[in-house]
Symmetry: C2
């Protein structure tokens, strides 16, 4: 079957609510800087009450990546669960407007569309507090074999391991991909997420995944080592392709037994939300255009540079033009 | 009675949906650049379908002004009608988070919270398309005499003349203000809005308003003259205080029979949405702190400079600190 989609993303469908906050706010609310914490509906109300005035933008890790690939000119599809509400309408609009295929039906009633309350501290670091809402109702029934077969790459976020039904959907997507010569890409998402599911994630990475995305904190957490080089040594040879991001140090790519380092792009850092997601967008766009690893990495660091230069995790300009300017 | 509120704002309670657009998009959709056009629910759906990916932020002209005054450290209250929905929650949160008193109950069911679909063209000009929704159900029953009496200034937006019930609420607020030594401030809002209600607005300005805000297009439209100087000549002596904004030329203030010009602050212009609203915020903050006209004007141009340096019509930083830096 001819594959008409470059990357199919499967992830939590979330609208971000972004506000500035001081370090003291994180401390007062016992929030771990840089992490993603799951919160329930009551916690969401309480946290929002305490937060300063905010702006809203579509988010969700895999959805951000898919939006980025679409903005680069790639052919994309997304699967995720929204509710039939105003935030769900916003989430759907922002993918469709970029040309992303997004046909997962919204649920009628029940939990509302997911929100992530994102606090951006003066150091530009983001701390995320996510109320999963409707995301918990994504099931493998929302995925067809044809969707998986039709994609060159299926991209999965580690966060999907949190809602039980979504985890089953994740596994179904991964198994179906194997049958149809669809590459499986995974982002480890968050070092705390890795903590929650370490053994399962090691098995995923070493036995099921073709392309791994992780940052330094995530990959050292996965292998419970103290430094990056030790993590690389543990990972090497166990995954076909791994793109490991290191913030201002750029990225380090493992591909079979070869290694490539790509420097970061210097930019003013306003908000790091979405940095990893947009790195993955650039990398996967290059990958599906059959670019070499170094070029894939360059696309990645350029897209990450765009996203951290402003608030929010969706590009503010055409990434196609932005990459053409910077390459 | 001691007045515990500096400025009470009465306006349409709107959430902005902001997206970039080319000039060709405006042309294809027959939109007049720089204007505010009212649209119905079906037009809103169609326009949103055609718009590119967007971000959301609380808006509404008078609400933006009130948010700005609160950010400057003023004591503020807002009256406006939201619905009991997700966008209404966002609108309320963003005022409360700034310390604004906002007790108007949300309507249960019926029309949703208002949205303004704002297209920002490459020249940073904004073109607004507003679906009024719940705003149409603001009535004078939503205002108490005590609220008006308790404020030094009641600030009214010309846009309130569009929904019939809100117009009645506007008039009630104005008449009640006269009884309680509360100054009446008005923004003409939009030159097309002035076109719709010219005779009534002239009567308002010359016979009922203490402080007038208008930009060059609005004041020349009001008096149907070709240039700014002719408009000033017509207005002079007919209103106690008028703060007339002229974009990069700064502002011109009439106060009884004296005139003061204040230069604009040079800044990178990203999005002009809210420029007039935040000018009014700075001016009214100064006014209620008993500052002289030149200082009021300076506060105004500084606040306007902050808002046009980024997308959206709500300040991204503490205006109190920003003004202290720039003054």
């Amino acid at each position: 079957m001819t594959k008409t989609i470059d990357v199919l993303g499967l992830g939590n469908a979330i609208v971000d609510i972004l506000a500035h906050a001081d370090d003291s706010f994180l401390k007062d609310h016992s929030l771990e800087k840089g992490s993603m914490t799951l919160i329930d509906a009551d916690q969401a109300i309480n946290l929002y009450n305490d937060m300063s005035n905010a702006t809203e933008a579509s988010g969700g890790s895999a959805a951000n990546t898919i939006a980025g690939i679409a903005s680069l000119g790639g052919k994309t599809e997304f699967i995720g669960k929204i509710s039939n509400d105003q935030l769900g309408d916003i989430f759907r609009h922002d993918l469709k407007a970029l040309g992303v295929q997004f046909d997962t039906p919204a649920q009628e009633g029940g939990d509302p569309t997911a929100r992530s309350f994102i606090l951006v501290t003066p150091d530009a670091e983001r701390t995320m507090n996510t109320y999963l809402g409707a995301c918990q109702n994504l099931t493998k029934g929302d995925i067809t074999e044809e969707q998986i077969a039709n994609a060159k790459v299926v991209y999965l976020e580690g966060y999907l391991w949190d809602p039980a039904e979504a985890k089953a959907a994740f596994k179904f997507a991964m198994e179906t991909a194997k049958k149809h010569n669809t590459k499986v890409a995974l982002t480890l998402s968050d070092s705390f997420c890795v903590d929650r599911y370490r053994d399962e994630f090691v098995d995923l990475v070493e036995n099921h995944v073709d392309i791994l995305f992780a940052n330094e904190a995530e990959i050292t957490s996965l292998y419970q080592v103290d430094n990056f080089d030790d993590a690389v040594a543990k990972l090497k040879g166990h995954v076909e392709t791994a793109a490991l991001t290191r913030s201002e140090k750029g990225c380090h790519i493992l591909h079979n037994l070869s290694e490539v380092t790509v420097d970061a792009i210097t930019t003013k850092v306003v908000d790091t939300t979405g940095a990893g997601d947009l790195f993955a967008a650039g990398f996967l766009f290059g990958y599906t255009q059959d670019k070499d690893m170094e070029t894939c990495g360059k696309y990645g660091v350029i897209c990450a540079a765009e996203i951290i230069s402003h608030m929010g995790a969706r590009p503010e300009q055409s990434l196609k033009n932005f990459v053409a300017d910077k390459l």
